[in-house]
Symmetry: C2
Subunit: 445 residues, 2 copies
């Protein structure tokens, strides 16, 4: 029966319960059932060094080497033979060991030894990491949808990853109040969510944010941490740190390190989980290399139990992660100057950020209300009071900009527009803002 | 509410109902809910040609070009600049247009115009295609698990993709009877499955098979088709054609084309769905490029409805498919001699197949019973009567071969061992079989 927790799964659940009753209480029915089966990848792992190895269904030269079509090998011609081989063959389900180790070191830049983190599991981009967290902790146990609090406006795909797929209930936590960032949003939303005593919940901490382009200051960060600890006093709380835009901060008082580290040890009822990846951090959008990390020591029993569950779900959904892209990511992570290469991208975006900040500073506040932004790839503007009164909706502005202003923006909800400065030339940003302002003016003169 | 079918989803469902009441009846609750939302990728699609395009959250040079780290661009140095750009940036959720078109042409080699197929959606390898089919058609509607018939012994990951994730019920259809392939297996398993009248079901047609390495002869094929048509007389039937090993056939009387084509139009109650990919067909295991195809004209309303649902689920689970790997696949599909490059791989495997066939022909049938095989990457052997009587299990043989014979094979169920000739040198196969035979002999003298 598919809904039965087998003995091997139960053994993992007990290891999790032992180390973190909070995380155990938060597991979904699917999370409780998941265990990496002892079938082909498991058995192939055991046979790796054997002379006569007929375990794995990939076509090789008979000695473990890839057998690529010449046209495809040529396309990957920039790689050393050993890496080319790795790019063409299956990745381990948990990811290539060197990629995992080097990414862990990358994540822990400036982080003290006192803070724990597992060897990250490789995912197919950030979204796959989110959907794995949804599989593990969301769903509707006993028919009661698990509550997931998300600061709003939020990236629409959270709805698909959590609610549509698993049946969880998304609750909106308004991220801005009176035009200012509200660090208590998640706590307030969970308080209003009508949860039963001790009912587990999930909170999404996405900083720098999408679509807000906001990352909390030092002081706001402390208030967020304290407020989530207060929630954890009431119920098991998994905090999903969606670190897609990690490192892209542009102001002095905004720390660049992930909240994942700040949330460790603040309350036994709170477990942060980190989702990050090469997509934005290494500017490799087409590669689909993400990572899923838990706040436990790499060799602990709970780390092994969680890795078995993640591997089960990765294998069930997509087989194994992308070896070709992992090999490309390795080329970056092995570079002595990878931090400088990444910093060059950050500086370019910082330039666009400042130009956009200045351009938005000049808009008529009756027409458009820019929300505070200081990080990441975006700025968010709200439709102003005057056009709101004439009934103007964000999507009408978007469509008008497409038709009349040769300009594309994203509408979010009824009254927000998102500007992605990451994909616009610095010199074009003032004109883009002028066209946005003019478009709103034209629609509600 | 997450379980509500929204108006846009309902419009898709009606388009599906109009063209194929069978497929509509077979949709799962998640399949009924799925619709590609009009958020960022949708809006970015509409803004693609605009001068001021601030829609999409990928870091570019401001004019649509990628902004790679130099170390990563070097690793992909075998690509033309335009392809490199495409490899680094997001793929459309449905896949890169040229890849889809060229793969469709590849699938339709030798197929007449009278047979329909959609433009395939790109998936993250074959398994992702399977899990999308599971999302669309499996699950447990109204708490009653959808039945999925799978020829056994079967690839263990069907259990994860269908049962563990969605709650469907796998029923085994013994693929061999008295040591011979049984073309009626799926029909027999569904008849025995205690289904309600008109209750939809799924049948898996995996040819060449894993772990069997078998593909039906012309005559067996006709019997399979007739037998599935008989099932469709009783209930809506989705036949999942898992064509992972397409084209790898080694005998004259075994057709190489997919059953997907033979199953079209045989009964209105039967809809075949095709899952295939570059993994085995183009020998690109680490790339994770698969495809999902339906038997409808590319511009039909039902094709568009199904594409919207697939895109919703792809976005929910993994964001978008792998652009980097799709670009590598393009290099092959654009080659004039891609068919020759693929044929060279097939010929190599055909050589190993013949050597393995001969080696297995010589084994003591009391110790090991080879099952018929003629295609794909594998041969399957059953533990013979004598060692069965002494209680020998396949996994004990496997572990003994690892420890005492420097040999790795995969055990399946209680009594089967799978030999993957695709990953063993031709010259080593006789010795591998000798060691297997000796191992069984040693365990049950």
């Amino acid at each position: 029966m598919s809904d039965v927790v087998t003995a091997p799964a139960q053994a993992l659940n007990e290891a999790i319960q032992e180390e973190s009753p909070t995380l155990h209480a938060a597991l979904s029915p699917l999370g409780l059932r998941a265990v990496f089966p002892q079938d082909i990848p498991f058995q192939a792992g055991q046979a790796r060094s054997k002379t006569y190895n007929g375990t794995i269904g990939q076509i090789t030269d008979g000695h473990g080497g890839a057998l690529p079509l010449p046209s495809m090998a040529a396309a990957l011609g920039g790689m050393a033979p050993e890496d080319l081989n790795r790019a063409l063959l299956y990745s381990p389900v948990q990811g290539i060991a060197e990629v995992r180790e080097r990414w862990r070191a990358w994540q822990r830049r400036g982080v003290g030894d006192g803070l724990a983190s597992t060897l990250p599991c490789v995912t197919v981009g950030l979204t796959h990491g989110l959907s794995l967290v949804a599989d593990l902790f969301a769903g509707a146990p006993g028919g009661r949808p698990r509550v997931v609090a998300v600061p709003s406006p939020f990236w629409g795909n959270y709805r698909q990853a959590f609610a549509l797929r698993t049946g969880a209930r998304l609750v909106s936590a308004p991220a801005y109040r009176g035009g200012q960032f509200n660090p208590l949003a998640l706590e307030e939303a969970l308080e209003a969510a009508d949860l039963a005593p001790d009912e587990p919940a999930i909170a999404v901490a996405n900083f720098p944010s999408n679509p807000g382009g906001y990352s909390p200051t030092r002081e706001e960060r402390q208030r967020i941490v304290a407020s989530l600890a207060a929630v954890a006093e009431e119920r098991p709380l998994v905090v999903l740190c969606d670190d897609a835009y990690a490192g892209l901060v542009y102001e002095e008082d905004v720390p660049s390190r992930s909240m994942f580290w700040d949330l460790q040890g603040v309350h036994p009822g709170l477990v942060p989980v980190k989702v990050d990846g090469a997509t934005k951090e290494l500017s490799f959008f087409g590669g689909r290399v993400g990572f899923l990390t838990f706040p436990f020591a790499p060799d602990s029993a709970i780390a092994e139990a969680l890795e078995s569950k993640v591997k089960c779900l990765v294998r069930a959904g997509i087989g194994s992660p992308v070896a070709a892209s992992q090999t490309v990511v390795l080329a970056a992570l092995r570079s002595d100057d990878v931090a400088d290469q990444v910093e060059a991208v950050r500086r370019l975006l910082a330039g666009r950020y400042r130009v956009l900040l200045e351009a938005l500073d000049g808009v008529d506040r009756e027409l458009l209300q820019p929300l505070p932004f200081n990080a990441g790839c975006f700025a968010l503007v709200e439709i102003g009071e005057r056009p709101k009164k004439c009934g103007l909706l964000a999507d009408a502005v978007r469509r008008h900009l497409l038709e009349a202003e040769d300009t594309g923006l994203v509408s979010i909800g009824e009254s927000f527009l998102r500007i992605a400065h990451c994909s616009v030339d610095e010199a074009s940003l003032p004109e883009l803002v002028r066209r946005l302002e003019r478009g709103v003016q034209e629609l509600c003169p």
